[in-house]
Assembly symmetry: C2
């Protein structure tokens, strides 16, 4: 009985790769906005154009499918760009936990053979401290932020915004094998040295689908949907902000990226941008609820996922 | 830079196969009930036990991973069993459209080299008409239904319920390659002869995830969730009832299978079983809304997907 063995997909084996997640927002929500701080930076069409410019600019600088690209940045629209564009090129995005010690960062960079670093200017002093560990790094790309005086002990090869300005509007993102490594993250090293964890394109796409499925459909549902305004408070280096930016992008939700923030400014953004969905560690929620501003912010529409530690129920207040 | 090429999944490459869809209902809803007609037949634990018994019984009769198993049956809990157990064995489930002409059924059976037929006794006369086309069929398994007099021109090899009664409570469903063919369906043949369409395990699992994702999370959301009571009115042979039974099972929803039904009895089930989610062709909805009983049934909680033809809006009434 040979009939059950007919090959499937002889025309096109649809791969589970990150670039496929961009098809739905372009279709359903091309004009939905993405916010950075209090400012609208672009809609989804503009966002995807930036991914193309970023990839073509990085490629011109020498970044290829073989590259290991470390990112040290706040929760910004630029981080959202890196989460897609770098793996979509076939390169590996190494999300660095910039809250860790210089020893940790040095180890993670050396051990994973990072050749490219994209870094917010605020974190330059941390990188300067481990200068002797950067021999394998071929290029450093700067995201210029407030307070940067233009001075650094390190050789800066390019500026992030300039790369995009010089890039092309289109880039031919390849149809990668879905098992290609997309991202890398090092554990905090509570036992001995930090350990690197890879995520493949297939793993991230399936995680994104499962997250969306459980959000709306399962007993455990969080209620997240395309109608929410989403803002990540968990750092994006931490397992891609628990995977939520991928889901928020796939469904074409309105997104707000806080950049450098504190509990007070996060509350301001929730109020001003009418944020309805977020996620963070209990400590952050605790600090927001302890801020005097909380009494002036309507939290009744806000859904928030808390994880990473147990919540102390006694300090949870109903709005 | 070899680090991006480290092989992933050296321990276990999680395959997208149908048996994985059963993990969540057993975890989240083991005691949720599945109804046939007005009667509770089992909960999800009992359902999965039946899948094991059915597979072991079929295997004892000679059904293997090479088998092509045709099913002619109403929308019953038994069809739900076939939708999972047969592909999970590695065999192919051929869902036959029993509303088609005998010529169509004969062609679909011969062309796909069916070796096993599972058939509701109501459809035996149709099969008797095409007896000369059944030379390749090695076994016929009967689902005894109302009105069967025990007489047939065909050799009946076993009865469905007896196979299950004689089967073992456990069956070692293999970890198939996710690209293994799971099901087969022949188009209605509006242009020339019917054409067979295969669905792989991977395709069905991804469709199930995408359906659930769109149900709860997307702009197009239907609002289906684990909290619904689900009843399929679209025939299950038609692209697995549009994929909904797989989703309803995966989320562990309460399910109601109507068996042989008409618009009137469907309305009775909606009323008595408090059905909140269904799907059908516009004709069926039209007939239900034209039935006098509709005035006594509260349809305010019912969500229904209509597809396959355009709805005539003028006959849609608000409850």
């Amino acid at each position: 009985m040979a009939v059950t063995k007919y090959p499937l997909g002889v025309n096109y084996d649809y791969p589970l790769i990150l670039k496929k997640l961009l098809l739905t927002p372009l279709d359903y929500a091309p004009t939905q906005e993405i916010i950075f701080g209090g400012r609208r930076v672009y809609d989804y069409r503009g966002y995807v154009r930036r991914l193309n410019s970023l990839a073509s600019g990085l490629n011109r600088l020498g970044v290829t499918r073989e590259s290991m690209v470390a990112v040290l940045e706040y929760n910004s629209h630029r981080y959202l760009e890196c989460l897609f564009a770098i793996p979509m090129m076939g390169a590996t995005l190494h999300t660095i936990n910039w809250r860790q010690s210089p020893e940790y960062v040095a180890y993670a960079i050396e051990h994973s053979q990072v050749d490219t670093i994209i870094i917010n200017s605020t974190f330059l002093p941390q990188l300067e401290k481990i200068k002797s560990h950067l021999d394998g790094v071929k290029r450093i790309i700067l995201i210029r932020d407030e307070g940067y005086d233009g001075q650094s002990l390190l050789k800066i090869d390019a500026e992030y915004e300039q790369i995009i300005a010089d890039g092309f509007d289109s880039y031919d993102f390849p149809d990668l094998d879905e098992n290609t490594v997309a991202t890398l993250y090092y554990t905090a090293g509570t036992t001995a040295r930090p350990k690197g964890v890879f995520f493949s394109h297939r793993q991230i796409v399936l995680h994104t689908m499962a997250l969306g499925l459980s959000s709306g459909c399962f007993h455990t549902r969080s209620g997240f949907s395309a109608f929410d305004t989403y803002m990540p408070l968990t750092p994006l280096y931490h397992e891609h902000g628990w995977g939520m930016p991928y889901l928020a992008t796939m469904v074409g939700a309105r997104q707000v990226y806080p950049g450098r923030h504190n509990p007070h400014s996060a509350l301001e953004l929730i109020r001003d941008q009418k944020v309805t969905f977020s996620h963070c560690l209990p400590t952050m929620l605790h600090m927001m609820l302890s801020d005097p501003l909380v009494d002036e912010v309507d939290l009744s529409k806000l859904k928030i996922i808390v994880s990473g530690a147990k919540s102390a129920v006694n300090w949870l207040r109903t709005p």
